[in-house]
Symmetry: C2
Subunit: 235 residues, 2 copies
DNA sequence: CGAGGGTTTGAAGTGCATCAAATAGTGTGG
DNA sequence: CCACACTATTTGATGCACTTCAAACCCTCG
């Protein structure tokens, strides 16, 4: 992966890209590794080169709430810049991953000196905001099966042909919490989705013939019509 | 209200403020007025000078999901800049309000020419993102009564002394939908909150003696401890 | 005073959570 | 390559929170 090819770094200066190259540190991480905790002082921001990372927070009661689950190509930890250099969530590796860390100072410098980059980041942030908005809507309006269906639709490759085959990218338990439901509910809701739409399920592989099977069941109670203007892409 | 005093316009150039002054259009709006609809092309962004504005979206099924309810001093419609000049939500006046509209072009120009302003807006957007994050957490983890309690806490003035008196800023029905619940649930959950915490309720006025009455019931199942670092302020 | 919306109350239903236990799947060491 | 250990997933039974539908009540404002 070439950093300069990530949408996030579009518009960044030569100097910044060079600084990234020279100061980025790559490491392989095992499942379960915690990179930082909510409230930790932030010296670095991170880029997922491969694998999956979970962002989450915990309450005093011990309940966990998942903020996001990030695929390769994602940036995280950068929001500390706007939170007094403190991470507003915890980050944990959930699949074997390669993670790059970059001193957040470089990002700050680039933002302060390169308006084109700042604009890109603003637009990136606006996109995220929009996604969250839709997330809130989904949680309020869609039932468990519909949320799963919508999640599956986001996994469909754009250039699919014929039978659509999807592999769930990480544990069902994690998908469940990502979608704000219990594992048991996920299991039952997926069965219900199968009944309602005729999708075929074998373990972590899911098959169906046309998008319509899912969209007709899931998208009628959403304010953005499929294909959701690419707002919701997972990877 | 002086525009230059709004946090949103901190860092903006003299020229921009002048352009705002000269091109802003003020209008009084009655309850129920719809300013624009989700999907409308956006020529203007707006500033709430007084009153309250509801941002929302509707699904094909006719269900409505409330995105935000904005107090005086808020900006809205500006996100269209990042959505191909199309509004990503509808806006409706919910209390008699004074609304300023400004051609979005001026905002765009200022963003493209003034990095200090772009940075401010980035930070503003990051704040919004954080609030949404917490919103999602609350919906997932808090029960109806706790969400109401948290909402009340956000209405408490910072310089309160002695008995704390709160006036609900708009209809209970609207608060209910803002918090993602039915009016009936709101009514019952508020009674429950009264039982649990000893707050006193008279119509739209709520009284209690110490914040602790509410915080001990509401904040234990939240990842941000009260006073939530001012993240959640409503006005 | 009366109309209409906002609010509360009651009764019944639904969806998801929880607890418990069985089953499937995966990786490990022998 | 197999048996075991451990985790992920499914299934069943039950409970609870919130919703829904219906109706009464209350409040405000013309």
């Amino acid at each position: 992966m070439n950093l300069s090819k990530l949408a996030f770094f579009e518009g960044s200066s030569e100097g910044f890209l060079k600084a990234l190259d020279e100061n980025a540190h790559m490491k392989k991480c095992k499942k379960g590794k915690v990179l930082f905790l909510h409230g930790d002082p932030a010296e670095y921001f991170y880029i997922v080169k491969s694998g999956w990372v979970k962002l989450f927070r915990e309450t005093l009661d011990g309940a966990q709430s998942i903020s996001d689950i990030l695929p390769a190509g994602s940036i995280f930890g950068e929001t500390a810049l706007f939170e007094n250099d403190t991470h507003p969530y915890s980050a944990e590796i959930i699949e074997p991953s390669e993670i790059m860390s970059v001193p957040i100072k470089f990002l700050k410098d680039e933002l302060e000196s390169n308006n084109a980059f700042t604009l890109k980041m603003l637009s990136y942030m606006a996109r995220h905001r929009r996604r969250q908005d839709i997330e809130i809507e989904h949680r309020a309006i869609q039932n468990a099966s519909q949320r799963i269906g919508c999640f599956l639709l986001r996994l469909v490759k754009k250039d699919h042909e014929g039978t659509i085959i999807i592999h769930l990218p990480y544990d069902k338990t994690l998908i469940a919490s990502r979608l704000g439901m219990q594992p048991e509910t996920f299991s039952r809701a997926l069965s219900k989705l199968k009944e309602k739409t005729g999708i075929r399920i074998k373990g972590a592989t899911i098959e169906f013939d046309t998008l319509e099977q899912l969209t007709s069941y899931c998208c009628s109670c959403c304010s953005s019509e499929y294909p959701c203007k690419d707002l919701l892409a997972v990877e």
